[in-house]
């Protein structure tokens, strides 16, 4: 058991606390239960994507297509419910099937064909976005049936917003998978030394395939929360979410080089990014400066990761 300060996610925790203290002083509107619950709700979709992304990055890959896949799953689910009148629970199943299917496709190309994940998912970024527009005819679908209003805006026990509940259950499950299952342990093994993992008899290809399926399923879940929150769906949702999701994972202390990191860090990373946006909104900082700030934060996080890796290698 590592001490607190040696955990990969320690930096993210400190950053969340420091930023929280700063924003509490800078804005009278920051520190209240309503705003804090808003931040968690706003962070939920990115956090779900970051959860799946963590698995991919831990194996040393990256999934650039998560925003587009979220749009595809969300747009298709919306289309089925609104335009085709299909039962919402069937549409939810379909969304997960799409997520898993695209995950299988990505995973097969990366693990079995050997195309770099960067290329497969960069192509997917525009492929799935195009399919999302094409398959739904570019329509906006609004006024989603139950249970979507509940998923997006409902409150459990009358005070716990559902997106937060989904996010919490998801992270508890994911922590368990990563720490206590074969998949979890092998993900770390593959990421830190793929050759070595193969030599000790781990079926690297199948586990690599698995992480892309996990990421795809996470996209589907994120899509369901997102369209619930917007009470509408279309092919244009979740623009550039891959950037926020990857940034959340990196800010959470997971190494872009694979093998090192944690799922809890990604949650903290997602919260951190959302806090930055929320804080800048409350402090009335313009769109362009917000874009610059998020970009700078991502570069700094990777910078820290690279420096840390070099130091580890020297030891």
């Amino acid at each position: 058991m590592k001490t607190l300060t040696r955990q990969e996610w320690y930096g993210a925790l400190v950053a969340v606390l420091v930023l929280g203290i700063f924003l509490s002083i800078a804005s009278p509107y920051f520190l209240n239960s309503r705003n804090l619950s808003n931040i968690l709700v706003q962070a939920s979709v990115i956090a779900l994507l970051a959860g799946g992304q963590t698995f991919v990055i831990l194996t040393g890959g990256v999934d650039l297509a998560v925003g587009s896949l979220t749009a595809l799953a969300g747009a298709m689910a919306g289309y089925m419910m609104i335009k085709l009148g299909i039962d919402p629970y069937m549409a939810i199943l379909a969304a997960f099937a799409i997520g898993a299917g695209v995950g299988l496709f990505n995973g097969y190309l990366v693990a079995f064909v050997g195309i770099p994940s960067f290329i497969v998912t960069l192509g997917g970024l525009t492929l799935w976005r195009g399919l999302a527009y094409d398959s739904t005819g570019g329509f906006d679908m609004s006024g989603l049936p139950d249970p979507f209003p509940f998923i997006g805006y409902g409150e459990l026990f009358g005070f716990l917003p559902m997106p937060i509940v989904v996010m919490a259950v998801f992270y508890i499950t994911m922590s368990f998978v990563l720490s206590s299952t074969k998949l979890g342990r092998y993900v770390y093994a593959i990421g830190s030394n793929e050759m070595g993992a193969r030599q000790v008899g781990i079926n690297v290809r199948w586990y690599k395939l698995g992480v892309y399926v996990v990421s795809g399923l996470c996209c589907a879940l994120a899509a369901l929360v997102l369209i619930g929150r917007m009470d509408s769906s279309s092919g244009k949702i979740a623009q550039m979410f891959e950037l926020d999701a990857i940034a959340a994972v990196i800010l959470g202390g997971t190494s872009l080089f694979g093998g090192r990191g944690s799922i809890i860090g990604s949650l903290l990373g997602a919260i951190l990014i959302t806090m930055i946006r929320n804080g800048m909104n409350l402090l009335e900082i313009s769109q362009f400066k917000q874009m610059m700030a998020i970009g700078a934060v991502v570069i700094i996080a990777v910078w820290i990761d690279v420096v840390r890796r070099k130091r580890l290698l020297r030891k």
Binding site: N38, D231, S232, A238, N281, Q287, Q290
Partner: protein, 318 residues
């Protein structure tokens, strides 16, 4: 003892500051745009900012990054947290922003929709060009240029959208009111310049007696000009009516290609949106639908209009 003295003074000072802020309880207005950074939106946003400055309110301008709906949703939520007195918003998506707008309204914050309406929420007011009326202006001008029975080409916008439908209806109604036997050749587009060019080319190929071309937007007029050039038609041989009053449209007029343009009052849309939000914040009664009007730009007034509306800064032909 001395410390107590200092604390006492501090308390008085703080109290004074507190009272001053209370006395100056100025209004805070949030203007939330859709993140578009094109020329038209630069003018609308400029008008909004100007109106905020003039009214002396605290003016917060925030934009949905890359036109992303969920970011705009988050901004509206944050502005509810921020307890702003009113929100003026140009929605990224008419339906998708409704859940957040409903929450703002429920929190007692008036919401004014700017340029694009919101469906599924009862906004305090909707400020935009009345497309039917603006297209009436365009159609009436066209009616004066031709005789009954003449052939006219109309380049439509997207007929799956209210804006496209209204502009077409407004133009045709006004034209037919004066010339019931006018022959209208329709070129259907989905706001696509290339579709406009191809359609006008076909129309020119099939008819050599077209008197006038009218377009639902200035991009369509650009396509029409390209088609006419391809046919060796010189500027002004066939009259052309644009719509929007965009920099490109007014440039075409300065070059002699366009003879009229039904211009939207872009800066006024933003300004009126913010002014209406301020009025609603002051608990004044506001109209549910405010038309910011249209202006018929002609070669005789194009320079003045370009200068007054702020469009000139984006034009190539000064």
């Amino acid at each position: 003892m001395k410390l107590g003295h200092i604390t006492g003074r501090l308390a008085v000072a703080l109290l004074a500051v507190g009272m001053m802020t209370a006395a100056h309880a100025e209004l805070t207005i949030a203007y939330i745009t859709n993140g578009n950074t094109n020329e038209g939106w630069t003018l609308i946003n400029g008008g909004a900012k100007e109106a905020g400055k003039k009214a002396g309110v605290k003016f917060i301008e925030l934009a949905a990054e890359k036109g992303e709906l969920s970011k705009q949703l988050a901004i509206v939520e944050d502005m509810i947290t921020r307890h702003v007195d009113a929100i003026a918003i140009a929605p990224v998506d008419s339906a998708g922003i409704a859940p957040a707008v409903k929450r703002a309204l429920a929190a007692g914050i008036p919401v004014v929709a700017v340029d694009t309406n919101i469906t599924g929420a009862n906004v305090t007011s909707y400020v935009a060009t009345d497309n039917i009326k603006a297209a009436n202006v365009q159609g009436s001008w066209a009616a004066e240029q031709i005789k009954d029975g003449d052939k006219v080409v109309y380049v439509t916008g997207d007929q799956g959208q209210s804006t496209g439908q209204e502009r077409k209806k407004g133009f045709i109604d006004a034209l037919k009111a004066k010339h019931p036997h006018v022959k209208i050749i329709e070129v259907s587009t989905t706001w696509d310049q290339t579709q406009a060019q191809n359609g006008v080319e076909s129309a020119l190929r099939a008819n050599n007696d077209i008197k006038l071309i009218a377009c639902a937007w200035d991009g369509g007029a650009l396509g029409a000009v390209a088609a006419m050039k391809g046919y060796g038609i010189r500027a002004g041989e066939i009259k052309l009516a644009g719509f929007d009053g965009s920099p490109g449209g007014l440039d075409m007029m300065k070059q002699g290609w366009q003879q009229a343009n039904a211009a939207q009052m872009l800066a006024k849309i933003g300004a009126t949106g913010v002014e209406t939000a301020i009025a609603a914040a002051k608990k004044q009664k506001v109209e549910a639908r405010i038309d910011t009007g249209a202006f018929l730009v002609l070669p005789s007034n194009v320079d003045k209009f370009a200068k007054d509306s702020g469009v000139a800064q984006f034009m190539k032909m000064k």
